[in-house]
């Protein structure tokens, strides 16, 4: 029920700002920039679903995780979403929600009223679209969307939950997202519960998303991934791998790095004695856990090129 109140706020705000998917003048086509070179992403994706050995590959998804990457004439957008697995016991496929969220974000990027400086709107409108589907899509998911605005070489991000991103420059992590959790292993999440369960389900609105804005330079490495990566691979190891691809614009090399990151995460997740970041965190919360956390892994790796 509360989801309805903020979705209507989003709609009325948009209406007041004069948004309409109906284009007014077809002649105001966005002109491409002048001759000066503008930054763009060279991006690759890799990942493993948790049940990799038994499941069939579906484009855009790794198990319950989902991702998208797309560009327009003046922006590049990357996004990941992690479906919350607890819905399986209600007979709901957790991957459906995250998949819909990412696919709709991708469609919205190509709409006229896409604002590259407000990725949080992507999440909000995506969520509103959920309510307009004939077939009810239920469940919940975290989400992380990252937009590169080519005009001013700035990256705008919106993150809700425990997926996230890391930016590496000159061998150092210069920006990274904060994990948002209500309590241990319960991240912030966008959710649409079945009717009747409104009150005993966590549901966060996109207003709760963390937004970060920062400039980027040529050669920066950006990693957007779900918690399958951040919970299993320690930050130092990530940094070691990422600083190798600084300034690399060859997509083949990038793909190889992304593959190795994903594989690393997967192997470590099944290692029962390794002190993974997940285990360290668990211990901090008085839970005796060791080893990695088997989970879906999604790695979206991009470098900034001119």
């Amino acid at each position: 029920m509360h989801s309805l109140s903020w979705t209507s706020r989003v709609i009325s705000r948009a209406l007041r700002n004069g948004f309409s998917t109906l284009l007014e003048s077809a002649t105001n086509v966005a002109t491409t920039g002048p001759a000066k070179s503008r930054p763009h992403f060279v991006s690759v994706v890799c990942g493993f679903p948790k049940d990799f050995l038994t499941s069939k590959y579906k484009p855009g998804k790794y198990g319950e995780d989902s991702w998208f990457k797309t560009s327009t004439s003046n922006s590049d957008v990357l996004g990941v979403a992690d479906g919350v697995g607890g819905w399986r016991s209600y007979g709901i496929d957790p991957g459906e929600f995250s998949s819909f969220l990412m696919k709709t974000c991708e469609r919205l990027v190509h709409c006229v009223n896409f604002n590259p400086q407000k990725p949080v709107n992507l999440l909000a409108y995506s969520y509103c679209e959920l309510l307009e589907q004939k077939k009810p899509i239920l469940g919940s998911s975290t989400a992380c969307v990252l937009v590169l605005n080519r005009e001013n070489s700035t990256v705008y991000t919106a993150n809700i939950g425990d997926s996230g991103f890391i930016v590496v420059r000159k061998g150092e992590i210069i920006h990274k997202s904060e994990e948002q959790q209500h309590y241990f292993n319960t991240p912030f999440q966008l959710s649409l519960p079945p009717p009747g369960h409104d009150h005993n389900v966590l549901s966060d609105s996109p207003d709760a998303a963390d937004t970060l804005t920062f400039p980027v330079k040529e050669g920066d490495v950006i990693l957007v991934a779900t918690d399958g990566v951040f919970d299993n691979v320690p930050e130092t190891l990530l940094l070691d791998v990422l600083k190798e691809v600084e300034g690399v614009t060859d997509p083949v090399k990038l793909q190889m790095t992304a593959n190795s990151l994903a594989l690393m995460a997967r192997s470590l997740s099944f290692d029962s004695e390794f002190m993974s970041p997940f285990a360290i965190n668990a211990r901090r919360n008085n839970i005796n856990a060791t080893g990695g956390k088997p989970d879906d892994i999604t790695v979206v790796l991009a470098t900034v090129a001119m």
Binding site: L23, F68, G196
Partner: protein
């Protein structure tokens, strides 16, 4: 899958075949490969007058939507809404109910059978296959249209007319479906690329209008994309083209005369000479020209051929005959003779005026002519007029209403683009006898129309604000002042209006309400439904996508108990419905004819069967996207109970 799409503007345009042309005007066309093949084709591109149309043929997809009359989704959404028709097809050749396509609000004959059905004004003026909805699409480049392909991905077969807006600011009908009712219904479950044969015109266009008729549809029709293909028009040839058009219009003799600067010279006694000619030589001339024997006109020695014709009938009979004519024929027949002119000018023939089928001809001059004739105007339909071209001026319309509006009882201004705030003001002040006011699709954002003068209307029985933005306070005031209100349509009402408040007002002030449409409006809850149970005359309610709150409690039961006349009950996407609610529907709705339960999950099969058994008058039941039922079961029920059951669902999610 996503991929980089670099240059958005070029994305929709496909350059087809570059053709080299052998005229003086052709610039070197780059890589003109093997020119021998192309010479024949190139010759065909040059017309008689010697200027070339184009260098090559292009195909382009719709760039944007300029206007539309109806869509399934709400304004900002990208699911089932009009903007989905732009760009390349995203789903074709897949077939199914996809949210990435354009769908309209209605299908089939069901809305015509509902209690809220509107009778057409002056039905004589309507063509045999009339259009129910339209959409206007804008393309990037001017082309001489050769092909228009419409990608229909669900229930094809609704398109009945295609218009093009040429560069000379006139609408031309490129295709008209004469076989609409004779054709067998399209039953194959396959997506279709529909490309009808177009009328050949020589004028470039980049705006296309599609018109739809849903009557033969089994379920919603959905369109993925529209392609416009033709020879690209070179804008430098524009002046040549316009001159050529002008010459065509004048006719060859007149042009020759102009060229020669012909001026007739009159001799002195031309009058007598003319009379002499008419008396003596005209007959010889006529028989020399035509084969038909001409009767002697001269009174003296002619035998009057005596037969009684139309011109000899008394005035009233001719008036009655003329009352069956459509508007264009009425104007034409008035040009025949003085007598016919007098009959055709009679105000009783203009008590009902429908300009909707003439939307492309509506103009300020027409309006002022009609104002002179229609002195007892009762019903006026100016829907769809003023589309894209501002040929109807709001001031003229205002004048028209000021002169003729006080007798008006029925007024329809759906999708009328010439309206402005002062028009609405005049309406409110002058037309106080209005019983029916239909202002569908009057919600173009800035500037929003100021409807506040509508609060003066006190006799309304029907108010239709489908897809129109109106303020809550004004709406509530109007409800309070119109106790005779029978039909109220607030579909797609914006978020600023709270349907619970509306329901409470209606239950107090509009107890005679017969039909209420709240499709995709907002904030209706159990409280509102309970309030509506005070309107015992309700025969039709549409709560689709509006009643989203989970807990309905006993409100629906209470409502159904108090409104036994209910014939149409639409509860699409009311996700909180339970088995108990359906039991109540089965037990409390003996007169139910149409029921929509689309997207309601968790209902057991027995409840559906209950309804089918107990609601003996049921004709339509929409169970799309419901669970617990199998296709074959639905087919069996449909056959056994003689009910039209819709049961579609998206094919398993692949993309």
């Amino acid at each position: 899958m996503s991929s980089s799409t670099e240059d958005e503007t070029q994305e929709n345009v496909d350059v087809h075949v570059p053709i080299k042309i052998n005229t003086q005007q052709s610039t070197a066309m780059g890589n003109a490969s093997d020119s021998d093949d192309y010479n024949d084709v190139a010759g065909a591109l040059v017309d008689v007058e010697g200027f070339c149309y184009a260098d090559y043929r292009i195909e382009q997809y719709a760039h944007s939507v300029l206007d539309f009359s109806s869509q399934y989704g709400i304004d900002l959404s990208i699911s089932y809404t009009a903007p989905n028709i732009t760009g390349r097809p995203s789903k074709y050749p897949d077939y199914g109910d996809f949210p990435q396509t354009f769908a309209m609000r209605t299908y089939g004959i069901w809305w015509d059978k509902a209690p809220s059905h509107l009778k057409e004004i002056h039905p004589q003026s309507l063509p045999a296959v009339h259009s129910e909805d339209f959409i206007v699409l804008y393309f990037e480049d001017y082309v001489i249209p050769e092909e228009i392909a419409i990608f229909e991905t669900f229930n094809p077969g609704a398109i009945v007319r295609i218009w093009a807006y040429t560069i000379t600011k006139a609408w031309v009908c490129l295709w008209d479906d004469a076989e609409f009712y004779k054709r067998p219904a399209y039953t194959a479950n396959k997506a279709r690329r529909f490309s009808p044969p177009l009328k050949k015109i020589h004028l470039p266009t980049k705006t296309i209008r599609l018109e739809f008729n849903h009557q033969r549809l089994h379920y919603y029709t959905e369109i993925d994309a529209v392609l416009l293909g033709g020879r690209k028009f070179n804008m430098s040839n524009l002046q040549n083209l316009l001159d050529f058009q002008e010459r065509q219009r004048k006719g060859s003799i007149l042009c020759k005369l102009q060229n020669m600067k012909f001026r007739p010279v009159c001799q002195d006694n031309y009058q007598t000479r003319l009379q002499h000619f008419l008396d003596h030589d005209l007959n010889k001339f006529m028989s020399a020209v035509s084969d038909v024997q001409i009767k002697q006109i001269n009174n003296n020695d002619s035998t009057r051929v005596s037969h009684v014709g139309l011109k000899d009938m008394p005035f009233d009979i001719v008036l009655k005959i003329f009352s069956y004519l459509d508007l264009i024929s009425l104007f034409r027949v008035g040009q025949v003779s003085r007598f016919f002119y007098d009959v055709s000018n009679h105000p009783l023939l203009y008590s009902e005026l429908n300009l909707k089928p003439y939307w492309h001809l509506a103009s300020t001059e027409l309006l002022s002519t009609l104002a002179k004739r229609a002195t007892v105007l009762k019903k006026l339909d100016m829907s769809w007029c003023g589309c894209t071209i501002q040929t109807v001026s709001p001031t003229e319309f205002k004048k028209f209403i000021q002169q003729r509006g006080d007798t008006l009882t029925h007024l329809r201004l759906n999708s009328s683009k010439f309206l402005n705030s002062s028009c609405i003001e005049t309406l409110g002040i002058v037309c106080d006898n209005l019983k029916e006011l239909s202002l569908r699709n009057c919600s173009l954002s800035p500037p929003l129309l100021n409807f506040s003068c509508l609060a003066n209307l006190k006799n309304l029985e029907r108010l239709d604000l489908f897809q129109t933005v109106i303020e809550q306070d004004l709406l509530l005031t109007m409800l309070e002042s119109n106790p005779k209100l029978k039909h109220l349509n607030l579909a797609f009402c914006n978020v600023a209006v709270n349907m619970d408040d509306v329901a409470l007002h209606v239950s107090e002030y509009n107890k005679n309400l017969v039909s209420l449409d709240m499709w995709k409006a907002h904030f209706l809850s159990a409280q509102g439904v309970l309030a509506l149970s005070k309107c015992h005359d309700l025969e039709e309610v549409d709560f689709g996508w509006c009643l989203r709150e989970a807990t309905l409690g006993d409100s629906l039961k209470e409502f159904l108990m108090k409104c036994p006349k209910l014939k149409k009950l639409f509860l699409a996407a009311v996700r909180g419905l339970t088995d108990r609610d359906l039991e109540d529907i089965a037990n409390l709705c003996p007169n139910l004819e149409q029921l929509d339960l689309m997207g309601v999950l968790g209902i057991s099969k027995e409840r559906y069967q209950d309804i089918l058994q107990k609601c003996k008058k049921l004709e339509l039941m929409d169970l799309s996207f419901c669970d617990n039922i199998m296709d074959y079961e639905v087919a069996m029920w449909s056959h056994n109970f003689k009910v039209n059951i819709k049961c579609c669902h998206v094919p398993n999610e692949i993309r």
